[in-house]
Symmetry: C2
Subunit: 411 residues, 2 copies
């Protein structure tokens, strides 16, 4: 009685269109938008770098941090091998045919939980990382790279330990949240007895572009966010700022570091400030997203420009303090998401930005920039950092037998 | 530098295609899927019934319950009038042009918070309701209809007061979560001084079809959900089961009641049960969603069929206990959503179903059915009701000067 079309119809095209080294994107849209069963866009799982970093940012996120409940390295390695196989299958969109939601033996528990049956891959990417605490837990402290150290406390931090840290992380991005949630859930399930969920975060809208083919999205302050983000089409800048080079251990070369910060935004207070005030705090205009010294979004910000009352872009403006110029040339690849986690019990929505950035060295890039922002950024008044975590993200898998963490834990 | 295409590209077509009395849907897709700026599908705001009830269920939800912080009826009425104007503007997709995100006077706080600037309407619907406590708060107890009484406690309920009740509710549904969140946020903002957020819930995937044009989605148990739901194309059944008739007060005739239940699903336990066990608990097969007495999803369930071991559809199967036959002919229009709210602090995801149903009389329809389910449903073992609320949903607005709640509070 019901036509057998995808229940979601067509997804955003944001993830399609660019074929990138290490993050190739294949699109499979029907010819006619109105009758297509929906896009079956897939993100290539294997490549020199993990997917989900320079992959054109998908629209939805489910991020989970896990703790080990076992200190048995062999058990952890076996899990990572199983995770790799499952992740590759899920990102390929072969879920329906091979996922095991309907086992041949009905006396067995289904291998897959089933809620993604019939859904396309929706550009799913899965990205894996290891936290500093994993090394201690597994007796591998001598293998922990120096930059993978707990982040310092920043001025104004109100971190909730239950939303911070983690031995492992999985970042699932997709254009359909059900696909992202399904992937995390099934990996979490497979980890039973070896890992447990420490915290998890859903993000409903991306706040950065990671490809020149994407329009710049808006954060919950209503401003375009990530205009000056590093882009997939700038491989030399990625080598300089994102990918770990010869300075890193073998198992991390070609990988990156993932900094996650859960930033509560006090949107009610923000909303009471005037347009002028908001624009001076950000350093850009709200409509176009142009720097206050320009007229178009991608006009370079002239930080030296002086107006009648002082610098046109104020000394405490967000884009000045976060600029490469103010930070010794340092840049980051941001890949954050807006969130709303219900209400705060005091009459307000619990909303904000789940900040995710990929950097070559968090101690040299994220830490000094965040220190400056926490102290001087006019926007800080409206922000509260409530969660924090750091993970090392190994390089991508190239050979068919490689699996997540093999370089660290052995085969 | 960046093409000015919608950052979301194409949305699901689920909401388009059917033009329904009181919930007409207009689609405006580009001819070429790959270059379209994205669908500008809009849901008609005015009509005999409020939108968001029989409107083909959109993919995403943001639901908020609010409490009055003022007992001044005039102030509440003024707010409802402002809300109506804002809701009509936002659902029409006129946000960019007329929303006030960029005020002419930059010394003023923007009238709109801006994060939906440039986004299409994405089939946004906004539905408004009033809870039993509103009547007490405003000294209107004599106007409260008898069915609008607090729901009784059901066996196994573990209700969190911070996720239950509310003087008012707003249900925002859209195919883009940023559009739904933006709408709720701006209405909440406009209510400052009169209302405050009591609780709010995001839903990422619909769990019911409300139109024969929609495929049946899956819940987090991996089963198709809502196969036998009431559909927009059955106006006589809607009159019988959903719309308040002559039995109700003037201000509610043509309206409905909204029952909301936050149902945590213990997915880890469920996932350990065998396919057979799961199918016997539900009463349907997992792949097709056919009743155990049939082979296709929409085959009618034969509750009388007896197999070698007893009834083919067990006595404690969910679809038997929830059937019209087992409930004196009672039916409901369900419109629920899957949710994941992070983790539970004990190593598991906090995931489940945010159940929303529209009924003509909650005391005669929802209460007896839920009582039976709570006592006998084999599925109950895997469920925990953690939130509960009931609202009366006034009829739709037809005249140009009508506003939400005018029938109850006067003009």
């Amino acid at each position: 009685m019901t036509p057998r079309v995808s229940r979601r119809g067509l997804f955003g095209l944001a993830g399609a269109g660019a074929a990138l080294a290490g993050a190739g994107v294949a699109a499979g849209y029907g010819l006619d938008a109105a009758t297509s069963p929906g896009p079956s866009a897939t993100v290539e799982f294997r490549g020199p770098h993990q997917a989900g970093i320079v992959t054109p940012a998908q629209d939805r996120l489910h991020f989970v941090a896990l703790d080990l409940t076992s200190t048995d390295r062999g058990a952890v390695r076996d899990l990572l091998q199983r995770w790799t196989i499952a992740a590759e299958r899920m990102t390929s969109g072969r879920e329906t045919a091979e996922g095991g939601a309907i086992p041949a033996n009905a006396n067995a528990a289904p291998a897959d939980t089933g809620e993604a049956l019939g859904l396309p891959a929706a550009s799913l990417s899965l990205t894996f990382g290891v936290g500093p605490s994993l090394f201690t837990r597994l007796g591998l402290d001598d293998r922990r790279p120096a930059p993978l150290a707990d982040l310092p406390r920043f001025q104004g931090d109100r971190l909730d330990p239950a939303r911070s840290g983690g031995d492992l992380c999985l970042q699932a991005c997709a254009d359909d949240p059900q696909v992202a949630v399904h992937a995390v859930r099934n990996l979490v399930r497979d980890g039973f007895g070896v890992t447990e969920v420490r915290w998890s975060q859903l993000g409903f809208g991306r706040t950065s572009s990671t490809s020149t083919g994407q329009a710049t999205p808006r954060n919950l302050f209503g401003f375009k966010d990530g205009t000056n983000n590093l882009k997939a089409e700038e491989p030399e800048l990625l080598d300089e700022h994102v990918w770990v080079g010869d300075e890193g251990p073998d198992w991390l070369r070609g990988g990156s570091y993932l900094v996650a910060r859960r930033i509560r935004m006090h949107i009610e207070t923000w909303d009471r400030s005037s347009l002028d005030e908001q624009q001076l705090i950000v350093g850009r205009d709200k409509g176009e997203g142009a720097p206050l010294t320009g007229t178009a979004e991608f006009d370079p910000a002239d930080l030296a420009a002086i107006g009648p009352g002082g610098p046109v872009i104020p000394a405490d403006a967000h884009i000045r303090l976060a600029s490469a110029e103010a930070n010794g040339g340092v840049r980051m690849l941001r890949r954050g998401y807006n969130f709303v986690d219900g209400s705060d019990g005091r009459g307000h929505l619990d909303a904000g930005l789940f900040f995710v950035a990929f950097v070559r060295d968090p101690q040299r890039q994220f830490v000094p920039m965040q220190r400056a922002l926490a102290r001087h950024d006019a926007m800080s008044e409206y922000l509260e950092h409530t969660g924090s975590a750091l993970f090392a993200v190994p390089p991508g898998l190239t050979g068919p037998d490689e699996f997540w963490g093999a370089g660290l834990l052995g085969r």
